[in-house]
């Protein structure tokens, strides 16, 4: 078992998770044993009944009828136990998956964003959804199968030895052949499956790229060229899919053939034994033997499948535990006091931060923001403007230095209390699937209808929301569904308008809104920013000109800091950026 179930650590964790259901698992095992025993008893009983049928006028009905009664009892008991066992197994499987998923989600909520940012979401989703299923299915089903398989083999062997040693020896020697045949084929086909998977992956990537961007393909008239490349991969896939499918499908007939050899040998040896034994071995026993020959070989045929399933389950379990045991963010200090009476005083004192050790990003950065001040962050794309937001919101914590809010080290404030002080509109306009109303009320689920409508009006979102089929009750699908990028951004703004926290963070908040709508929002923004400390990231210089402090960023560093006029007078990088806006007049 050690080799199959990977390292002992994983096994222990697996047992921990099943521990809650140990009585159910035990019950399932007892039922499995009972089912196996009774299933094996039936052929013996049938054999005995057949022994009472010798020939015309030689049938002992007085003996047959009680045997048939016993068979009926066995069958009824088996069916009942099988059913209970299935129900119990289902219950354990589904409940274990449910528990593990909840555990995984609870962990996701407290994982640091650095984890979520650095791991592909698709991969995490597949751990929570597919791996959890495969783990529970594979482990419990695999284990039950292994258990019943082993019991079947043991009981059958035991019975056969009591009946006839020689026939049993024949069966014991020949049956493992099917195992070797299956193994032989499996190792040969493994390479073909690997090539099929690889080619299939290559094709999926190609399809993803070309079909996902068909419009570009068509704009450049590349349909024929793309089809040609596609066919190249497609033909290779046809070839290796054919080989993989064919060679793997030989396994069944091959093991079946071994089984029929066993069957033939049992029939032969059994018949000779009946003739030679002079009554010690009966025709009924031979019948039971033949039924067993089939039953005994089945677990052998399945065993390689079960082993793969178990190995797969353990791999999935390892992937799951990796997620569940990932280092969570540092918990809030037990004595952390929530912020009270936030005025909007923020101070960064000698802050250092980098995402990766080898690339320094923010070094010894200091900044003092008084309540109600407006801080603008500008610079070319990818210069690290959002990093500051990550630090302010404590999505990431600085490597060195202190960020103070209202004079308190932000690390000593509970995250939720700190975040409640900020209203955030990000470039990435994430909306949750649900109604518009639910989305707007995200910051305050108890908001009244009037408050929601007022916020939407302030963000100039009321107009388009009203025109939607179900107004505020319109359900928006995943990723915002049918809303345009601009409309989504308006909703994100309205979402913040509803709670109006003392401090604001606006990251490219209006990048996808056309300038006319933006103009309309601008007045609302100005009203919203009145008396509120705000941090604004934007490309458009016109929207940030009125800032009290402008931070100019370049390659992750803050290169200049000051007001619009000061920075223009300095004639540095900011002046260059600003003036370039007018260079276009030359054309």
């Amino acid at each position: 078992m050690k080799g199959i179930l990977g390292n002992a650590g994983t096994l222990r964790k697996v047992l921990d998770h099943i521990g809650r259901y140990r009585w159910l698992v035990l019950l399932s095992l007892v039922l499995a044993a009972g089912t196996v025993l009774l299933t094996l008893a039936v052929p013996i009983l049938v054999g005995r009944a057949i022994d009472q049928i010798v020939g015309a006028g030689q049938v002992r009905f007085d003996r047959i009828l009680p045997i048939l009664g016993q068979i009926a009892a066995c069958v009824a008991a088996t069916a009942l136990m099988q059913w209970v066992m299935n129900v119990v197994n289902n219950r354990v499987t589904f409940d274990v998956v449910r528990d593990i998923r909840e555990e995984a989600m609870a962990r996701i909520e407290i994982l640091p964003l650095s984890y979520l940012d650095s791991h592909p979401h698709g991969d995490i989703v597949s751990r929570v959804v597919a791996d959890a299923d495969a783990f529970a299915d594979g482990l419990l089903m695999g284990f039950t199968q292994l258990f019943t398989g082993a019991l079947t083999i043991l009981f059958t062997l035991g019975f056969m030895f009591t009946q006839n040693d020689w026939i049993t020896l024949v069966v014991v020697c020949v049956t493992p052949l099917s195992l070797f045949v299956a193994r032989f084929i499996a190792t040969r086909t493994h390479a073909m499956f690997a090539r099929q998977a690889e080619t299939r992956g290559e094709q999926t990537a190609f399809i993803d790229e070309m079909v996902g961007n068909l419009k570009v393909v068509k704009a450049y008239g590349r349909e024929a060229a793309a089809l040609e490349s596609f066919d190249g991969i497609n033909e290779r896939l046809r070839d290796c899919a054919m080989k993989a499918t064919f060679f793997s499908s030989i396994t069944n007939p091959a093991t079946r053939f071994v089984n029929s050899v066993v069957y033939a040998l049992v029939a032969l040896a059994g018949a000779l034994a009946v003739m030679a034994s002079g009554g010690a071995m009966t025709v009924g026993a031979l019948t039971a033997f033949l039924a067993y020959a089939n039953q005994y070989t089945k677990p052998f045929n399945e065993i390689s499948g079960v082993v793969t399933e178990l190995q797969n389950a353990v791999t999935c379990a390892e992937r799951l535990f990796e997620l569940i045991e990932a280092e969570p963010q540092a918990p809030d200090a037990p004595d952390a006091q929530p912020l009270a009476n936030v005025e909007g005083r923020v101070e960064m004192d000698d802050v250092c931060f980098s995402y990766t050790r080898d690339r320094r990003l923010i070094e010894h950065f200091s900044l003092k923001v008084a309540p109600g001040q407006r801080v603008a962050i500008v610079g070319p794309t990818g210069c690290g403007k959002t990093t500051l937001i990550n630090l302010l919101m404590r999505f990431y914590d600085p490597d060195g230095g202190v960020i103070r809010v209202e004079g308190r080290d932000s690390l000593s404030i509970p995250r939720k209390s700190l975040r409640a002080a900020y209203g955030m509109v990000l470039q990435d306009t994430w909306l949750k699937p649900g109604t518009i109303r639910e989305n707007l009320a995200m910051g305050n689920p108890d908001a009244t209808e009037d408050e929601i409508v007022a916020a939407a009006k302030a963000a100039h979102a009321h107009g388009f929301i009203r025109r939607l089929p179900q107004g505020y009750d319109t359900v928006i699908g995943e990723d915002g569904g049918m809303l345009s990028q601009g409309q989504k951004q308006l909703l994100c703004i309205a979402r913040v308008m509803l709670i109006l926290p003392p401090m604001l963070i606006l990251d490219e908040a209006t990048s996808s809104i056309d300038t006319r709508t933006e103009l309309k929002i601008q007045s609302a923004f100005t009203r919203m920013m009145q008396g509120r400390t705000s941090f604004i990231v934007a490309h458009r210089l016109s929207t940030i000109r009125e800032a009290d402090v402008i931070l100019v960023m370049r390659d992750g560093h803050i290169v200049e800091q000051g007001s619009h006029d000061e920075l223009l007078a300095r004639n540095g990088f900011y002046a260059e950026l600003y003036n370039s806006q007018f260079a276009g007049v030359a054309i």
Partner: protein, 572 residues
């Protein structure tokens, strides 16, 4: 489906045929065993037992040979079928019009080509392999039973009918339940994905606990549904087992009576018993097969829906040359466009003419129809009213490839493909020389991208993933410039560039020696205010047309946009 399978006629006939052969050999086994018991043991003939033992092994060998042959043909047919379908699907998708693609959506198209085709392939493979085998065994066993003894065979008939009833009833109840489970699972998946993609917003709004509770509720609902569905399918094994063994009991009893009367032999009773066991095995296989077939068929239906989609655009135009003696490069003649399924027209009665070498700026709010104007020129969409002319000829008269080869189109979303930068740029012109590529890159301000990545032969990841947004945009512009297009369309394609680079780019385009007609679509007034003609769009209507200076005087909307970006005192 038949159309695709008919290419594999030989395979489709041979696979089930050989499978049937195997089944027939399987059916002979109990008869041979009966003969061993009656003619061998009964008559005390050891020679007969040896001979029959040999026959059993021979049956095994022949069965193996026919099974392998069957598997070979089935694999060939199924994988060949899948490859052909994928080829046709790809070709078909590439022939669809833009509005068809909008309606289908990329993720649907990709799923159809990958998992649906695979599912259908498995369906075909399993069907060819098992579809004849299982029914032949079940029916064959019954026929054999009839051949042995009619009265005992009646037990078979009843048992088989009962088994079918049980299997079908359980599946009929279970399949809809499993669909419900699948839907609930998708909800759990969606909730997981949302919690990841929305992590920042959820935490900023302190909704972690609420989102966790929502997830738990969905997850529990899933477990409850699974348990209910599992409860039904848990009946399958016990019930079929009970039915078959009840039949065995009846069989032995009836058999005993018939032997007593001298109608049957003991060996024949054993044979009947064996046939009954075979039926159970095959019936369970058949039930599993039905599930696979169902899945495969549903997938095929989805694939077929896409294959049957008629391209919405008539692409039969064959003209390749401009109309003689016409001056304008692009003319919109009362063009109106309503997207299929769109609530109202995206463009209404738009008319203008762009002369060769002119620069046309297009500006307007979100949803004002800027991109629609751009999409009509290379005929990505067809007008629903009026006409669009390129070089004096209606775009519908051109062969689509000929029309599009005149145009360099840079879309809003900068898309590049896996491969070298050289491969990507050559999309514009497959036989472009090194000098041509570099000249285009220079004009597109992309030389520093080449430098940063290591030259034309630098590899790009899928979608240009190893480039920044601005780098991607500049390479897509270079790709359009490589073909030295007569008409260049930049659809908001410099949005990720800083203003200095944007300005240099416009300067370089203005200096191109082949003087293309340029359309610049932008939300920034700065990007278009130097254009020869500026078109101002508002809710699909052309509300202003003229130079920057003219429009400042005559067009309120233009002035409003301009002033929102430049305050009056700066507009020197």
């Amino acid at each position: 489906m038949l159309k695709y399978l008919s290419r594999y006629k030989r395979e489709c006939v041979c696979a089930p045929l050989f499978k049937m052969l195997e089944a027939v050999f399987d059916l002979l086994v109990p008869l041979v065993v009966a003969s061993i018991i009656d003619a061998g043991i009964g008559a005390g003939s050891a020679g007969h037992v040896w001979r029959m033992g040999g026959v059993l092994i021979l049956l095994g060998v022949v069965g193996l040979a026919s099974a392998i042959t069957a598997q070979y043909f089935a694999a060939r047919a199924a994988t060949g079928f899948a490859a052909d379908v994928r080829h046709d699907l790809f070709r078909h998708l590439a022939s669809l019009s833009f509005s068809d693609m909008d309606r289908l959506g990329a993720s649907t198209m990709i799923t159809r080509m990958t998992s649906d085709v695979n599912q259908a392939q498995t369906g075909v493979n399993m069907t060819l392999r098992l579809f004849l085998r299982s029914p032949v065994v079940v029916l064959g066993a019954m026929i054999m039973a009839f051949a042995i003894d009619v009265r005992c065979a009646l037990i078979f008939v009843t048992a088989i009918a009962l088994l079918f009833a049980v299997v079908i009833a359980i599946m009929a109840i279970n399949i809809p339940m499993m669909k419900g489970v699948q839907r609930q699972l998708e909800e759990v998946l969606g909730a997981t994905r949302d919690n990841l993609s929305g992590a920042r917003v959820i935490r900023a709004f302190r909704r972690e606990d609420a989102e966790y509770d929502a997830f738990v509720a969905r997850n529990r609902a899933l477990a409850a549904r699974q348990r209910r569905a599992g409860g039904v399918s848990a009946l399958m094994n016990p019930l079929t087992y009970a039915v078959v063994n009840a039949a065995v009991i009846l069989l032995v009893r009836r058999g005993a009576i018939r032997v007593e009367l001298g109608i049957l032999t003991r060996g024949q009773v054993v044979a009947l018993y064996n046939y009954m066991s075979q039926i159970l095995v095959e019936l369970i296989k058949l039930a599993n097969l039905t599930v696979t077939m169902n899945k495969g068929w549903a997938s095929w239906k989805r694939v077929e829906d896409v294959l049957n989609l008629e391209p919405a655009m008539d692409e039969s135009g064959r003209a390749t040359e401009a109309a003689p003696g016409i001056a304008a490069a692009v003319t919109f003649d009362h063009a109106t466009l309503t997207y299929p399924g769109g609530a109202g027209p995206a463009l209404t009665d738009v008319s203008f003419a762009a002369m060769p070498g002119q620069t046309v700026g297009i500006i307007g709010g979100t949803g004002s129809g800027k991109s629609s104007v751009a999409g009509l020129i290379p005929r990505f969409y067809d007008v629903t009213g009026g006409r669009v002319l390129v070089k004096g000829r209606d775009v519908r008269e051109y062969a689509p490839e000929a029309l599009r080869s005149m145009i360099g189109m840079v879309l809003q979303r900068a898309v590049l493909f896996k491969g070298t930068i050289r491969d990507n740029l050559r999309w514009g012109k497959p036989d472009a020389t090194e000098d041509e590529l570099l000249a285009a890159a220079k004009a597109a301000q992309a030389l520093d991208v080449l430098e940063a990545k290591g030259g034309l032969d630098a590899m790009l990841e899928q979608g240009g993933g190893n480039l920044s947004g601005g780098q991607r945009q500049r390479l897509t512009i270079a790709r359009a410039l490589v073909r030295r297009p007569e008409i260049l369309i930049l659809d908001d394609s410099a949005s990720a560039l800083d203003m200095a680079t944007d300005a240099r780019l416009r300067q370089a385009i203005a200096e191109l020696d082949y003087r293309p007609t340029v359309f610049i679509i932008s939300q920034r007034t700065a990007s278009i205010m130097g254009a020869d003609v500026i078109l101002v769009l508002d809710e699909g209507r052309l509300v202003g047309k003229g130079t920057h200076a003219e429009l400042l005087e005559t067009c309120d909307i233009y002035r409003e946009i301009y002033e929102s970006q430049f305050r009056k005192e700066d507009a020197r």
